[in-house]
Amino acid sequence: MYAVLIAGALVMMLPFVWMVTSSIKAPHEITLRTIQWLPAVPQWENYKVAWEAAPFDIYFKNSFIIALTVMGLDVVFSALAAYAFAKLNFFGKNFLFLLFLGTMMIPGEVMLIPNYITMVNFGWIDTYASLIVPWTVSVFSIFLLRQFFLSIPNELFEAAILDGCGKFAYLIKVMLPLSKPALVTVMLFKFIGSWNSFLWVLIMTNTPAMRTIPVGLTYFVSDVGAYYNYLMAASTFAMAPILILFLLLQKQFIQGIARTGLKG
């Protein structure tokens, strides 16, 4: 049983291992026709060459700016909306909630084309605005936070309101501190989703100045062609931030998925 699991895990790791070992091979080692697991001399400067062959510093900066902003705004907007749905009583509540939930059933590809036209009309093509603003609210985050807010007893809420605590103050002072695990899950999913997003960035950007890591990487391929050692070096550093984030927060991550069963 152990043998099966360990063999399976090794197969799963194989592409990563091959990526890293290929990334430090010399050009003649890349074109060997038999398997060579490790290079004779690790060519660490491949990373430097790859990094300088395309504006990866800009791509990384863009990816970080976009992912962090999207994550920050999403958690704020979603927490506000989730609070209204979870704790307040208002006209049209059920209707609005169903309307919000309904968008989760519609594939994003349906909205792609009108959104593209909206972006053209706003003059937002090739700007941060187009890469950030449409993604600052996700119904998934609202839904997840609402479920969590609902699990916080109402008596607490009513007592606080009776004591003269404002509703907004209650959200900030009581709800949010109590909801840390849910907030972390929402932020984590949003950050990774934004970092890995591809199609939208592909159609929104025309110039290298606005590209993110995934899109930059696809252009890098057409630039360097078949130099797979450089390509693998670039793939390695493109993956690194998310892999590190995952290894640091794997518990929250896996629990988040198990709890929600939803793709990020």
């Binding site: 790791m13 704020v76 009583n89 968008t103 519609i106 594939p107 349906v110 890591i213 998310i242 198990a258």
Partner: protein
């Protein structure tokens, strides 16, 4: 006659409504602009010959839909997706379940093993597809080199045990995975299984936690083997999870795009062998600027996915299985 609930007459209720709307305002604005509006707008557009390069657009009725349904390339996309689903969903679910069951026992290195299986799922599709492109390389790719080694070993062993009567039983042809169209869907299936196995495993692990431990103990007392317990207890009781994952996987499979785009550097595979519905939408909208036509294709995608979503919603209400 419309009955107005008592609470609606109070001032407090309307004050709270106003406050709630303030909380919802940012979310509603963003969703309104980038979700509600485009959903309606793309239905409207799908009935037009809509080009970004013109100012006036022409109403064409159902023509876009008729053309798409009649387009062999679109049919190809549907067929490719179907083959992809049939190839990847059962394998990825079966392997995910096996790994989950093995990991569900109290074993050492459970954590690291779980991470190893899950890692592919978090990585960016672009970067990882790049790695697979390198693995599939005909001459220097890991896959062909490993297969060649394996073929060689098999041939040597067969030759040895047959006293030299059988040589070269496995003639390794060094397939060109990325250029020969018959491999395209298989290539994509391998990547998809590898990437989604860990995700399925995590969901299955959560599902396995919900199976009462007493059932296994009772089965053991009655002399059931672990194998029998798996078939008679685990498999039936995990079936809601299996169903959920199947639907999620099928919906995801219909949205396949990035892997194809990267694996074949901006082409839908040799002779459209990797054409998918989303690729079809992308090509018509952003390479040919036929926005109305592409909107209609996107709506067909929506219709297909919607069927699966409805099935999933029905089933989660009835909570399949858990029979007596």
């Amino acid at each position: 006659m419309l009955r107005i609930p008592a609470q609606m007459k109070t001032k407090k209720y309307w004050k709270e409504t106003l406050e709630a709307y303030l909380y919802l305002l940012p979310a509603f604005t963003i969703l309104g602009l980038f979700s509600f509006y485009p959903v309606v707008k793309s239905v409207y557009m799908s009935f037009f010959d809509w080009s970004l390069l013109r100012d006036t657009q022409y109403f064409v009725g159902w023509e876009n839909y008729e053309k798409i349904i009649g387009d062999p390339v679109f049919r190809r996309a549907i067929m490719n997706t179907a083959r992809y689903v049939i190839g990847y969903v059962p394998i990825s679910i079966a392997l995910g379940l096996i790994v989950a069951v093995l990991l569900n026992s109290k074993i050492r290195f459970r954590g690291p093993l779980r991470v190893a299986f899950f890692l592919p799922w978090v990585t960016s599709s672009v970067a990882i597809s790049m790695v697979w492109r390198w693995i599939y390389n005909q001459h220097y790719g890991l896959l062909n080199m490993m297969l060649a080694g394996l073929a060689n070993a098999v041939n040597t062993v067969v030759e040895f045990v047959s006293f030299g009567h059988l040589s070269e039983v496995w003639q390794f042809s060094n397939p060109n995975w990325l250029m020969e169209p018959q491999w395209t869907i298989i290539n994509l299936v391998i990547i998809a299984v590898w990437q989604s196995l860990g995700y399925n495993m995590v969901i299955f692990l959560a599902g396995l936690q919900n199976i009462p431990h007493e059932l296994y103990e009772a089965a053991e007392v009655d002399g059931a083997s672990p194998w029998q317990s798996f078939w008679k207890i685990t498999l039936p009781l995990i079936s809601p999870t299996t169903f959920f994952i199947s639907i999620i996987s099928i919906i995801g499979a219909f949205k396949l795009f990035t892997e194809v785009y990267v694996l074949y550097t901006g082409r839908p595979g040799p002779v459209n062998s990797g054409m998918t519905i989303v690729y079809y939408v992308y090509r018509n909208a952003f390479e040919r600027y036929r926005m109305g036509y592409a909107s209609a294709a996107a709506y067909i995608l929506f219709a297909i996915i919607f069927v699966f979503t409805l099935v999933q919603m029905r089933a989660s209400k009835r909570r399949i299985h858990y029979g007596s």
